[in-house]
Amino acid sequence: MPRPFRIALLLAPSALLMGVFAVGLVRLIASSMVIDGQIDLSLYSDILHRADYVAMLGRTLRIAALTTLVSVLIGFPTAYFVARYRGNRNFLLLLIIFPWLVSIVVRSYGWVVILGPRGLVNGIVTATGLADRPLKLMYNDFGVILGLVHVLLPFMIIAILSVLLQIPRSLEEASMSLGGRPAYSFRTVVLPLALPGVLTGITLVYLMSTGAIVTPLLLGGLGNTMIGTEIFQEVMHFFDYPKAAALATVLLATALAVVLPLQILERHLTRRLSDGGDL
């Protein structure tokens, strides 16, 4: 078989899958802005002129930003701890990877059981007399952010950990033996080297929290919509596909506006680091 033909045959299956995806993407955008064969952006101006949609978009960005922030703040120390752990690291990895691979439906449902009016926390609170009525722990932003952090934190930890594990411990020790205080060595040696992993983690968590449906719906309810739950409603309850397509395009735009610069920065940093240059 001639080489070009063989290569074409090898690439055909994956090309077909990606082609289907690409065509779908184009058709999605087209179906949101071409109405009766003409370009018509009225769906978008409707979205931007309705106060409830603007509030929903703001809420989505706020929740995604908070989820990402909390995930970095608790994910980094966890990854650092696991990377430097001298005992059975595989067990710690299992505690991160196993929950990550359990379906998000099951994990979000677990939080419903914990935070619900008859759940674990309220059981303790009412039994000990800390409160006489069950606390409202879900169907609000708190529940949604808690659930999203739980569902997405493994992505953050894995992204940071895979970079930290590549940094030789001796580098940090060299810095300290030359008189650098631990905090100084951490800031000047570990942090810059770990930055690409942190950026990957931020990208993934932000992306997945803006596009989440299951966790916000189960823990936030239908009242506190995010863009994902709004899309879900448009499709499943109102069968308004053009509106759903417009919202999905808005979601794509807001996600890519944050993700692409982060990805470019991450590549730039990785290249700088592998060239051995300064940051």
Binding site: S103, G119, V235, A245
Partner: protein, 257 residues
């Protein structure tokens, strides 16, 4: 401080899963935690329900076919990129990973449009296609990494000793990338078996998956049977993780090539 945060996080991550599994053994007719009494009645209800079992069968079959197709497609692509060193190899690899940078809710609508165009909305074939697209980014990396590690000299040796290309492929190349293949298969199987955000847009009266069914039941009722089904999903995932750990080691997930 670092230590305290890390320990709390490592306890926090498995917590809701443990709670779901424990609460599935309740004897009460409603879900509460701590549970009221021990019983297996919700497992009996789950395993006695033809509907739940057929949905579980659909999910397993979907994940199996999806994993086989996307692993095969990934192996073929990796073969072209690694062995034939095609000119746009890096670009192709990036392309295969692009579904990862799309938010799931948006992918869901993209797939509605796609499957509606093909007339495959609410069909099993449609779900297979979508799950292949979703799992290729996960399936590609392990096979490509295994292929990079395998020594092409072995294949050349087999060929120079007179083995035909297919025989070389079956007896030399394939065994060399076996750990990568098994990892890809298991990883895609898990991703597909657990997928819900995209799939919930694409199911219909004739086809339903287990996680989507769990999702709609949680929205509509509070029956503890959901906990029993969820615990079964957890059991499935544990088995896959156990095999993955045995085949390639759990550190695979935090390694960079």
């Amino acid at each position: 401080m670092t230590r305290a945060i890390a320990i709390l996080v490592l306890m926090f991550l498995p917590l809701p899963i443990v709670i779901v599994v424990l609460s599935s053994f309740t004897s009460a007719g409603y879900l509460s935690f701590p549970i009221k009494g021990l019983s297996l009645r919700w497992y009996a209800e789950f395993l006695g329900s033809a509907n739940w079992l057929s949905v579980m069968g659909t999910s397993a079959l979907l994940a199996l076919i999806g994993a086989l197709v996307s692993t095969a497609a990934s192996l073929a692509a990796a073969w072209a990129v690694v062995r034939h060193r095609i000119r746009f190899g890096t670009a192709w690899e990036t392309l295969l990973l692009t579904p990862l940078i799309f938010p799931h809710a948006a992918i869901g609508v993209i797939m509605i449009v796609t499957l509606a165009g093909l007339g495959w909305l609410g069909t099993f074939a449609g779900l297979v296609l979508v799950h292949c697209i979703l799992t290729v980014p996960y399936a590609y990396r392990p096979v490509a990494a295994a292929l990079r590690k395998a020594d092409p000299a072995l294949e050349e040796a087999a060929a120079s000793l007179g083995a035909r290309p297919w025989r070389t492929f079956w007896l030399v190349s394939l065994p060399a990338v076996r750990p990568g293949l098994v990892t890809s298969l298991l990883f895609s199987f898990i991703i597909s078996f657990d997928e819900v955000t995209v799939t919930l847009f694409l199911v219909g009266p004739f086809v339903m998956t287990l996680p989507v069914q769990v999702f709609s039941e949680v929205l509509e009722s509070a029956s503890p049977v959901i906990a029993a089904v969820s615990a079964t999903l957890v059991l499935f995932t544990s088995a896959m993780v156990f095999i993955l750990d045995r085949v390639i080691g759990i550190q695979f997930f935090v390694e960079r090539d």
